[in-house]
Symmetry: C2
């Protein structure tokens, strides 16, 4: 990592600003430069000193950068990739922290060709809080960070990013963007869809009776709608496949209830209970939960 002189972070939301802050601590001799397209956010970021420098323009931010990290909404990537392309040096490594990876790889390939090294990153960290005000240098500590690569990914770029996220306290895993989007389509995007559908399925006169069960089951539906729209739009196939599977499982329970099939209901509920308990046990063993 000695070769690193400048790290640029585009987007000063909670995640971007926290990455910037963590990089500032982890790489004291490197210039960490941040940028936000909103003037007000740039001013806040400066006041809160979440980066060594806050650039006034995208061009200024990425010029001479060794690593550029996009922490903006996923669907801004095609435009932003095009805008930075003329100013990025050949040896630069580009990544992003979006929650879907296939489209980002596609856009990077189309816009950068093989001139610039792109690797996808997905640090599994966040908070229900939003914005630069809540940036924390330990937001990524202990988090899993998935890196995505394709057959054309430059291995030196992958190695550099492995070290980068490792220094920020992440446990790094590498996989293809296809596998990433399939996994997260099912384990993250589908629960969001299910939670939103569950809230929308309930009428306003029912909701005041919600207890802890409903609150937990629907919690993720309180996430920002624009960011989640981005996620669902950039992972359509896996989301649709997930919805179809969920509907199929709901129909199994529906049939069992309408037939008053006690054994089948109990079988389906017990199957879910056992699967979930095994998952929790595995996570406890790996010290992912305490």
């Amino acid at each position: 990592m000695k070769e690193l002189k400048k790290i640029s972070v585009i987007g000063m939301g909670l995640l971007g600003a926290s990455i910037s802050l963590a990089a500032l601590r982890a790489f004291p001799s490197v210039l960490v430069c941040g940028f936000s397209h909103r003037k007000q956010t740039r001013q806040k970021a400066r006041r809160l000193q979440v980066a060594g420098e806050i650039a006034e323009s995208l061009e200024e931010c990425v010029r001479d950068a060794d690593v550029i990290i996009f922490a903006t909404p996923i669907r801004t990537f095609p435009v932003l990739f095009g805008q930075i392309r003329p100013f990025v040096k050949h040896s630069c490594v580009i990544t992003d922290v979006g929650s879907t990876k296939l489209m980002a790889h596609r856009w990077a390939r189309e816009i950068f060709n093989s001139n610039i090294a792109y690797v996808g990153s997905h640090p599994i960290a966040g908070s229900e809080k939003r914005g630069v005000d809540f940036a924390r240098d330990d937001l990524l500590a202990g988090a899993n960070c998935i890196l995505t690569k394709t057959p054309s990914t430059r291995l030196s770029a992958l190695r550099l990013l492995k070290k980068f996220w490792g220094r920020l306290g992440c446990r790094v895993l590498v996989m293809t963007p296809q596998r990433h989007d399939r996994i997260f389509g099912h384990i993250s995007h589908l629960p969001h869809i299910a939670a939103a559908a569950l809230v929308n399925a309930n009428s306003a006169d029912i909701l005041p009776f919600a207890g802890k069960g409903f609150l937990d089951t629907s919690r993720v539906a309180s996430g920002p709608a624009n960011i989640w729209t981005d996620i669902l739009l950039t992972n359509p196939r896996n989301c649709i496949q997930g919805i179809d599977r969920l509907i199929a499982e709901l129909k199994k329970i529906r049939t069992a209830i309408s037939q008053q099939d006690e054994r089948k209901i109990e079988f389906l509920l017990e199957k879910a209970r056992t699967k979930r308990e095994k998952m929790i046990a595995a996570k406890l063993k790996q010290k992912e939960l305490f």
Copy 2:
């Protein structure tokens, strides 16, 4: 409540034993008598002193009782109601703490006719822990308790139970069993079905990647399968209606994704987000959440 001399609690699970313990504290001059059909549970209940007395038979437990509380699985009620019928005095008030109320009212009407006063109770309290070992005298403190009545409910019985649950620290609400089962079918039983279906929809290779979002969304699926089978079997119409509504909402999101309809996706997610935030705000205002 001066007229109370004996309160009987049938079923020494977490809820039954906690009610017994709370009644013991709230009514020091009343005999609180517990019963479990399992010998081992009776012995534990005696050792833990969750009741003033643990009867060796159902008959002994309910004889001379002024209030009988059933805290056994819902579908045991028809048999148990029939078994106690010969031994219950005319002035006795019978209730249960099951999570569905329509079937309990039906069974009580069929078995007791109008000879014995039945009122449904549903204290919204519980824990992921199970069994008499975890009984606590404050499990019901601050909980909502819904009482269900029909046009034939004896009003003196309703008044007595209002006072009883109030003394145990509950906030009491009264409604018809129809309304109760509709509300809880949607706000409690449907989330359970959705959580179980969500877990079952995911393959075992995906689950190790589950994060906080998935864990919360699926949490209730870890509940005991036999108790939830009882609940779904005794509230079939509302569960089926809920599943149909949920599937309809899932299909709306599915269509919007497959048509890459950004505005529609964001509209649906934002609708859910806003509804949930309003619900949370109302609960905070009513001090149901802190």
